[in-house]
Symmetry: C2
Subunit: 332 residues, 2 copies
């Protein structure tokens, strides 16, 4: 068994956590996935479990232990340092045998680093939430949006799902245009589309409207993001308009941080595929788009790994990124 020093990147998100175990040359030798890993949204206990699950799985293929890992870089929104908020994670890792150094990194920088080693560039992340950042000298220099579902996240999965839900209730309330989204959403929520029958107690409202209001308020608001994929079914004017506006909002967030040419790393499912959101995004950017090299990435796992290599003093080149990307791909 080799006793080379190992490094580990942890990309801890609001819904899942990924851990990447690497040699100092950037070859991935293990990968693990756990549950939600952000203590701010999941609570410390759930986050500890999510992170530990991911780390433990990542160690399995090589049979190595945390004692062999010299650096762990954890990408977590809102966790900036061991001293400030991150003591819980160091305590957890030490209990599991870790004797190396822990660094915290921005989750957005991890996403950027999944697609770019250049010290200057941009990332737009549009999953459940949405934000845009400018990276300079390898650090986040400026950010736009990322303000959460209630105040911002314009163009995000939540934003789209929320607009879908509102378009459907307006259609059922006969206050907005008819849309194919109505049938799709009622179907998805298991509500009978018997929209013509008025509820005797509902002041002329259809039963379907009463029911969808009841069902959607019984959920947590953020769950409206799950309706977003329904908007990607083509051929409906209302859905197309929602996706177009989402793309424009994401472009506006990027524009707020834009300062010249650079790679543009794109994370999250909303902009991942070619289609109406990306079309509107590029159209809105106009000439500015020509100076940007679009690089879609799956998540921040590769980037968290690269940030760990960097924190450990390893040289990081485009080849390192390519090596890590390719070797990690064999584990997913």
């Amino acid at each position: 068994m080799s006793h080379d020093t190992l490094m580990m990147g942890v990309d801890a998100g609001g819904t899942s956590t990924r851990a990447v175990l690497m040699t100092t040359a950037g070859a991935c030798i293990g990968y693990g996935v756990g549950g939600r890993g952000n203590p701010l949204s999941a609570g410390v206990d759930a986050a500890a479990e999510g992170v530990l699950d991911a780390i433990t799985q990542a160690l399995v293929p090589s049979g190595r232990s945390l004692a062999d890992v010299s650096v762990i870089s954890a990408a977590m929104a809102g966790q900036n340092s061991v001293d400030a908020e991150g003591g819980w994670l160091l305590d957890l890792l030490v209990t599991e045998g870790f004797a190396g150094r822990l660094t915290f990194e921005s989750d957005l920088l991890a996403t950027y680093s999944s697609g770019a080693v250049e010290p200057f560039g941009y990332a737009v992340v549009a999953g459940t939430g949405a934000s845009a950042v400018r990276v300079a000298d390898g650090r986040i220099e400026s950010s736009s949006d990322g303000l959460g579902w209630l105040l911002g996240d314009r163009g995000s999965g939540f934003w789209i799902g929320h607009r879908v839900a509102r378009a459907v209730v307006r259609d059922l309330d006969r206050a907005g245009p008819q849309t194919a989204l109505t049938g799709a959403v009622l179907d998805r929520l298991g509500i009978s589309a018997d929209a013509g029958a008025a509820d005797p107690g509902g002041a002329g409202r259809s039963r379907a409207l009463d029911r969808i209001v009841e069902v959607l308020y019984a959920q947590r608001p953020i769950e409206l993001a799950e309706l977003a994929p329904l908007a990607f079914v083509p051929g409906d004017r209302v859905a197309d308009e929602i996706l177009r506006r989402a793309g424009e909002h994401l472009a506006d967030s990027l524009t707020a941080v834009l300062r010249g040419r650079g790679p543009l790393v794109v994370g999250g499912s909303v902009l991942a595929r070619p289609g109406p959101v990306r079309d509107a995004f590029l159209r809105r950017l106009g000439d500015a788009a020509t100076g940007l090299e679009l690089r879609p990435v799956a998540d921040g796992a590769v980037g968290a790994g690269l940030l760990a290599l960097r924190a450990g003093g390893a040289a990081v080149s485009p080849e390192t990124l390519a090596t890590l990307d390719a070797s990690l791909a064999r584990f997913r």
Copy 2:
């Protein structure tokens, strides 16, 4: 002490409850205010307390008891009948000595009846929430919006407060126009307007932005409605635009139920006073506004009283409304 039969109207809302004790001629002889009275939003225990407080206070001036009351009409959103959902209230009243008849009424019909005895007309209510209704034959025949803060309530106090909050975070995020709302909201929330200072962990964000996000997400979303009054300070382009759109949304909700001339009872604080919301509301209605007679009312207390008189078989004329309105005014 007189032993005439008495009647009582109860207007139970999401934030407070009002009870009106009357003679069968519609003279108010007692008035009480309690806490939140809707079991759907407050829970049955809190609603029972709110209703009981209001009723108990209303009985004090006359020294009469619930045993002397032959009819109670309770206006409560979502409570349609004693058999369906309202058993808790009848049980409560009987325990307190009530031996008469309890009816449930729509809260929107109570608002309408606070300003109109005509069998045909309209009401627009814009407080924390917003909806429009058409009344025909003394019943709610059709309604629009009233779909709650997450899915509708367009033009409501929540809607305005939410837009205010979003405009402020966009200003602080340098992604939207500067607005005087920013200073007003930071002030209101007790946040230092030291917006230039970047938070080292906040990716170039100002501390004020980080702090307002933290404060607003720590609240319940509906509390954003408390920011609505800040938009009514004149002279700010962003605030004016929010109020103009609110007025247009309320007009659109009314338009969805409009079928000819009639009284238009206006409840809630948003449309209560002349100003930019009402101006935009009337402008958007255009010619349709000329057929409507605007009647602002404070709440549904008078209307709940009128509905109780009607339920008890009393004749209800414009004079009855005027009598009740004037006699109740002496208690407020």
